[in-house]
């Protein structure tokens, strides 16, 4: 299945752009998506504890199962205000 990946701030820079498509096995979780990114770019591993996920515009836990066409956001610690 195809997932649309968004990344912000420092994670956007590490990903190399604000958005891209990722191909995953059907039913894969956010954690599996993350592990795929770590395999590709080991530097993601250092950011694992501080990264939060959103799925389709809502906060989501790492064990959330994804579906075809989902939009997943990778978010470093917030800095608003």
């Amino acid at each position: 299945m195809k997932i649309k990946l968004l990344a912000f701030a420092s994670l956007r820079e590490l990903l190399g752009g604000p958005a891209r498509e990722v191909e995953l096995r059907d039913g894969a979780t956010l954690a599996e998506l993350w592990n795929e990114l770590v395999r590709e770019r080991p530097r993601f591993k250092e950011l694992e504890r501080s990264t939060r996920f959103a799925r389709n515009g809502e906060f989501a836990a790492a064990d959330t199962a994804l579906r075809e066409g989902d939009e997943v956001a990778l978010m470093p610690p917030f800095g608003g205000g």
Partner: protein, 148 residues
């Protein structure tokens, strides 16, 4: 029920200069005797990297707006009833420019102060906005809010 409309009256992310007067206008009401406002302003911090000249803000708009709306409603339900307006900048903010503005109207001042403080504290923790410090000399650094 209070005689005035309560909760979130106005919420925006904008690349334009923030207009505090517009937020005050959005919350004022004949039944509200207190309006408390907060402006967060870009500060010229001296960092080991150099002096901060500007902050570049980036937002995940869909999620940020959803959380700003939720915080406005919570501020009213916990401390109000109150009328709440929140605006946050995106893009480049120079030293001295406001990056966040909040206005809260309530019947009396204690509720308005408490609701306004709650709104800015929660915004810093929960809203999907990021800032990059831009230093004199060209260096940059993403700066997360302190854990609370």
């Amino acid at each position: 029920m209070p005689p005035f409309g309560i909760g979130l009256m106005h919420c925006e992310l904008t690349a334009e200069a923030l207009d505090l007067a517009a937020l005050v206008a959005a919350v004022e009401d004949a039944e509200c005797g207190a309006i408390v406002t907060f402006l967060g302003v870009v500060r010229a911090d001296d960092d080991p990297e150099g002096r901060v000249e500007a902050l570049a803000y980036e937002a995940y708009e869909e999620l940020a707006l959803r959380e700003m709306r939720a915080i406005g409603a919570e501020a009213s339900s916990r401390f109000g009833p109150a009328r709440v307006a929140v605006a946050h900048r995106t893009g480049l903010c120079a030293v001295g420019e406001a990056s966040v503005a909040i206005a809260v109207a309530a019947a009396h001042r204690a509720a308005a102060f408490d609701a306004c403080e709650y709104a800015i504290d929660e915004l810093k923790k929960r809203v999907a906005v990021w800032k990059q410090e831009r230093y004199r000399g060209g260096a940059t650094r993403w700066r997360p809010n302190a854990e609370r």
